[in-house]
């Protein structure tokens, strides 16, 4: 602790250079935090997916529907605790850029399947009693300023009604919350019976099934049983854990993890060069001072530790400030207003960030620190 003023003073030696280096590290860590949040938002659903839930979809593609009659068969398969089906609506509210997921569901089934969705008993009752009723997640309701009792008009290019119209009206009867922030509160759910009766084609079909299994350890066996059950039928199924399903959804826009790791790798490699150059210059320009320190009794190890401490402090200040700024930004919420429902930095990513800070400090400091340690006092004093 008593060496801290010396270490800090050395960083203040070239204030502009130190400031620019700290800023470059700060920007790298802001980027790290934001990319973590975006990556988590895009594939985070994989981690949040229930281990006890399986998704049954058409074997060929997610966009091909499955017969609604499959549900009775699925429910009878040993190990299945219950099921719900969802059908993608793909609608537009007011403007095409106002994206949020809308799905036709059976109210009781969906609430049983997703127990972390919190809907008041009164609103649940209203939903069960209103054919045109819909419930919206808190995030989407807040985004559009919806309140219970509003009529929500949504246009879809996929589902045409018998009168040729593609405009569907829904009565908002409830707004649901999540028990935790990992629960997605962006969807709008409306009743399947109203939807199925109104559309002109694909009646009796659903988009996919969500299956609850009694024992998660048996999930693989149950998935095989389901797929075997519908093998060689006109609509063969592919059953997979909910996490894998979410992941395949996210992969439609590319391998997010690889892209993120590529960007971060490039950023940190650049920062390594920038900060490493700063530390090397810093040591080079005070060779004589380091020699004087050794002359008055500082050991080689103490000189090495001093330089390492400087580089770690530099990386630490930039890194912690950067992570803090990213955290503060992410706290403002999903910047896309709905595309990234899980937009936050997971705590373990913050810990990884702090670890990278330390690693960056060590990596940038180790070479100049070793150079400083190996300086011969007599030689160094001549270079004052």
């Amino acid at each position: 602790m008593k060496f801290l003023p010396l270490i800090w003073s050395n960083l203040k030696r070239r204030k502009l250079r130190t400031l620019l280096t700290v800023l470059s590290i700060l920007v790298a860590f802001v980027l790290f935090g934001l990319i973590c949040a975006i990556q988590h938002a895009l594939v985070g659903g994989v981690d949040m997916a229930g281990a006890d839930r399986l998704i049954v979809r058409h074997k060929v593609s997610l966009v091909i529907s499955l017969p609604g009659s499959y549900q009775q068969t699925i429910d009878k398969i040993p190990g299945v605790a219950g099921s719900a089906h969802l059908t993608w609506f793909g609608g537009i509210y007011q403007d095409a850029k106002n994206f949020f997921p809308q799905m036709a569901v059976v109210p009781q089934e969906i609430l049983d399947t997703y127990p972390k969705v919190v809907l008041s008993p009164e609103q649940k009752k209203a939903w069960l009693n209103t054919r045109t009723g819909a419930v919206a997640g808190r995030a989407t309701a807040k985004r559009f300023g919806w309140k219970v009792g509003d009529r929500i008009p949504i246009t879809t290019a996929i589902w045409t009604k018998a009168d040729g119209s593609q405009l569907w009206d829904f009565d908002l009867v409830g707004i649901f919350d999540g028990q935790d922030k990992a629960t997605d509160t962006t969807p709008l759910w409306f009743r399947y019976d109203y939807f199925d009766e109104g559309r002109v084609y694909d009646k009796g079909h659903v988009g996919w099934y969500v299956i609850r299994v009694k024992d998660p350890s048996q999930a693989v066996a149950i998935a095989k049983r389901i797929d075997d059950q519908f093998a060689n039928s006109p609509a063969e199924t592919k059953t997979e854990p909910e996490g894998a399903f979410v992941q395949s959804f996210a992969k439609q826009i590319g391998n997010i993890g690889l892209i993120a790791e590529g960007i971060m790798g490039a950023v940190f490699f650049t920062i390594l060069l920038v900060a490493g150059n700063t530390m090397s210059q810093s040591v080079r320009e005070r060779t004589g001072e380091l020699g004087a320190l050794k002359a008055i009794g500082f050991t080689n190890g103490q000189v090495l530790c001093q330089v390492m401490a400087e580089s770690c402090l530099l990386a630490g200040v930039g890194g912690v400030l950067g992570l803090g700024l990213a955290w503060a930004f992410v706290l403002q919420g999903d910047p896309t207003k709905g595309l990234l429902p899980f937009f936050y930095i997971p705590p373990d990513n913050l810990l990884i960030g702090l670890g990278i800070c330390l690693a960056l400090g060590v990596a940038t400091g180790i070479v100049p620190a070793l150079q400083a340690m190996r300086l011969r006092v007599a030689d160094a004093l001549r270079r004052m």
């Binding site: 060496f3 010396l6 004087a292 320190l293 050794k294 002359a295 050991t299 080689n300």
Partner: protein
């Protein structure tokens, strides 16, 4: 006589020292069979032309370098046999260095510069501050404690350097051209200070200098030429 001096009263004893540097395949013999004894509390001036090995000898006496051959004993301890780590510890305890170009840390104030050697001790912050105040008072710079080196004159910077050298109360002060970068007036003040440290505070002072005016302040002067010492005679 100091507790650390040998039985014959010599604080520093150099015997048969050779120092050879290598430049590629070439061997440069800087010191050859050199012997020297410096009694405790003596003020010794070491003179000689450039390249005569004055600074090399000073480095050997201060434990900054090791002889190729021979022994260097300071305060009864064979410092030529100590490891790098042991030498660093030994320097911190027993030697104060005064450099021609002061070698102060420009990013630290005068008092922080003086405090540096004390960071290697177990003293508390308050104790360190007390030692720093005392050292700065001895060199007459109490009023400039908060000043940074760039705001001090050359003479004042050298005073800070001397305060840093004496703050741990070392036995031996090794001064490498302490007035070499100063004008006559400032140089005289520094020499007065070194004399006072020798006479009033009992420090053994070894001073390398080119300047006969400076060496005249010493009690004894030795000349080094071509690796050999020649005594001028005690005063």
């Amino acid at each position: 006589m100091s507790e650390t001096s040998t039985s014959d009263g010599a604080l520093v004893r150099v015997e048969g020292v050779d120092k050879v540097f290598h430049r590629g395949a070439e061997e440069i013999h800087v010191l050859a069979g050199l012997s020297l004894q410096v009694p405790d509390r003596q003020f010794l001036a070491l003179m000689g032309p450039s390249g005569s090995g004055k600074s090399t000898l000073l480095n050997l006496l201060g434990g900054l370098d090791r002889p190729t051959q021979g022994t260097v004993t300071v305060g009864g301890e064979r410092i030529d046999q100590l490891s790098d780590r042991q030498l660093a510890r030994w320097r911190a305890r027993h030697v104060g260095f005064v450099f021609q170009l002061y070698n102060l840390m420009p990013v630290l104030s005068a008092e922080r510069n003086v405090e540096l050697p004390l960071l290697l001790t177990d003293l508390s912050k308050a104790e360190r501050a007390e030692h720093v105040r005392t050292a700065l008072a001895i060199v007459g710079l109490s009023q400039r404690a908060k000043h940074y080196p760039r705001t001090l004159s050359g003479g004042e910077q050298q005073r800070v350097g001397i305060a840093r050298a004496i703050v741990t109360d070392p036995t031996l002060l090794l001064c490498d051209e302490p007035t070499g970068d100063l004008d006559r007036k400032a140089g005289d003040e520094i020499l007065d200070l070194l004399q006072a440290l020798n006479r009033e505070h009992g420090k053994t002072v070894l001073m390398v200098t080119h300047d006969p005016h400076a060496s005249a302040r010493a009690a004894r002067t030795v000349h080094l030429d071509k690796g050999q010492l020649r005594e001028e005679g005690a005063k």
